[in-house]
Point group: D2
């Protein structure tokens, strides 16, 4: 069995939790609070900026030019998604206005820092395994929603939730997932010990689950960065 | 006012929370559950390994040889603390045995990843501001405990809590804090805009607070990395 | 005057040397030894692999998502040039076969290492200034050759030298140069001291000159890496 | 045979060239032009600043805390050598005054950039192999000179050449070499393919040879960075 097939199997319990999470169920049936979806998009915007950094670091350390080209192109893609899809959805008028400037939640800061730190200091195969779930889990979720989320999809292609599903179920995105998987499998090949790769893949998959879970509850820090203003 | 003086003032509410946190109060009066202290040391060991990486990255990007030498020496020091102080305390027989292999809590993984990611990708002055609270807050807490924690200190220099206080109140550690502050102030000098430095300093200070807070409650992940074994 | 305008002026003597170098004069009038051109392409292939790494590191440290996206896209572009233009030219049959596996000349290894090292450890504005000459000098040379190299261009669009000129005089490449200049000027803005940026720009421009100069003479190392095989 | 034993054997021809180079022969018999030795120390000062960066990057990516501690401590050591030994020798009055501000020669810039670039982007075992020759070749040369350079050593322990020999033949430095070798051998263990490690080791060894060779001839760039001032 390939490394990625095995990593996928080993994280089945985390994907079951993802499939079952209220955020995605409500997104699929169209009942998700638009304020929650805006909060999610704001967190995702912060995430994608850091994810792009992680992919660029990975590109800088890739073993060959073709792998480097794929990760660099994906880094560019992360920025494009942010400015295109997010700008589009946030500016569409279908979502409530922002509460104020967004700041990273504990889970967002933890996830994105974990990926950048791993891409900066862990061996390339471990770093490649860490960035894979963001590709794969999104494509997997979007594919499933494209089949099941009839309520939202029937509401019209303009509905922000429908556009989100369409973006991540795009054929081109599934092709990227296949390439990312192949590069991770190539990196894993010939390694005697892939435990660190499995740990990185599972850690990132768990963060994927927590990202939706904490977006739903608008997770915040127990203490603000700045002291509360005097009344 | 120097940058670090201002950063210290701006985070007074976080330090008040630190001074008031149960972990430190109980450590000071000797009532802290030894199992909690062991858990804290295990998390700190994971933390120090990553903190050393962050300091080494900072050293690699320092503006001059003297600054690079200080950060590199501190990276070496982080490893020495881990193997000396921790090995000493964990192996002293005064603490209960380990429950099993330690894994990073959400806060530990978030904090250490944040420092490594910042040291790898943020401008040098921001990265220097991010690593400073770990020096300064520890020295500050230890100095205060050295005065107030009479219960623990009277119990004898061999008590693990007394040794912990002594290690971080050592004169040599206070000298390191002064050097780290000076390097951060030098890096901040001449910058028109120090908002990112303040944010980094406050973010790390908040993580310092959360580190003790979550150690006390033995914070864990809502989902394990591996599926639970069948009963 | 913008930083890049001034950096361009300050390196006029290096560009005069470039314009006057025999490699480019002979490329323009079609008399360049095809074996030399193959050697140059082999060195450029090694260079572009490293240049892509430098651009990816720069992307990982860019101050905002739009800048990161440009450098990441350029890193992808460096790989595409290598596999497309180079593969095309080297495989065209118009050039003599390879002598054996290519290895980096002292100048190629020095230049590409300088860019990667600078992108990894110098402040972002310095690193951005270091990668700029490769964009700008190539576009400048190609534009001038597109006007003057009538001998080669009249020989037909299939001539490898004509294709090389066309690739770097493409409108899309000139647009990239303009964006790269803008990003460097934005990074230089507000810095009190831009001496390190000027030094990086001039160092890379000098390497550009030496790259052609040493390709012409097929520069090699005074000592091989491996001991000479016994006769 | 261990990786480092084999790497040492494979580079015997480069070490023969080092042993035979005029710089070291003249240093050993005390006839080396003091102006050349000053030029060498100036280049070495530039080199050590970058070497420290490379060692810090290596520390940030080391597989365990003990290895990280060694590289970080060596990074600190590189800075100490620079400020202590160099300051001492350059300020001793035994060498002629500086000609003006020093700038990196092509070989110095190439070598130090190669090490930093390798430590930033190559796999850890390759980067560890690249920094090893600077430890090992220096200790080897100093040990041999300590035995053969009677002319210089008899001139008294204050002679700058004698102090240089003593510094690198110190027992503590030989211990560092042994540790560095052990870490490289551990990193090489279990790798199926060590070709990239051999190439890195040989490339750095060749740069060691060229460093002395080009110091002797005060190698300079064919074109200055700045335009010559008008007469």
């Amino acid at each position: 069995m390939s490394f990625t097939d095995e990593a996928w199997e080993r994280t089945a319990h985390l994907r079951a939790a993802i499939d079952d999470c209220r955020f995605l169920r409500e997104l699929g049936d169209g009942t998700l609070d638009p304020g929650v979806f805006r909060h999610y998009l704001e967190q995702d915007e912060i995430y994608l900026a850091g994810y792009g950094r992680a992919l660029s670091l990975l590109a800088s350390r890739a073993p060959d030019v073709a792998s480097a080209a794929f990760w660099a192109s994906s880094a560019h893609g992360a920025a494009v998604v942010e400015t295109a899809l997010h700008g589009d959805l946030l500016g569409s008028g279908a979502l409530p206005p922002a509460d104020g400037p967004a700041h990273a939640s504990p889970t967002t800061l933890g996830y994105v820092s974990y990926l950048v730190a791993t891409a900066a200091t862990a061996p390339y195969p471990v770093a490649a395994a860490a960035v894979l779930p963001c590709f794969w889990v999104y494509a997997d979720v979007a594919r499933r929603l494209a089949r099941s989320a009839t309520a939202v999809l029937d509401a019209g292609a303009d509905h922000p939730y429908a556009r989100w599903v369409a973006a991540y179920d795009a054929e081109e995105f599934h092709t990227s997932v296949a390439t990312a998987r192949r590069l991770v499998d190539e990196a894993a090949e010939g390694l005697g010990d892939v435990r660190a790769l499995h740990e990185a893949f599972a850690t990132a998959t768990r963060y994927e689950f927590l990202f939706w879970e904490t977006a739903l509850h608008r997770e915040d820090w127990p203490s603000p960065l700045a002291a509360p203003a005097p009344a």
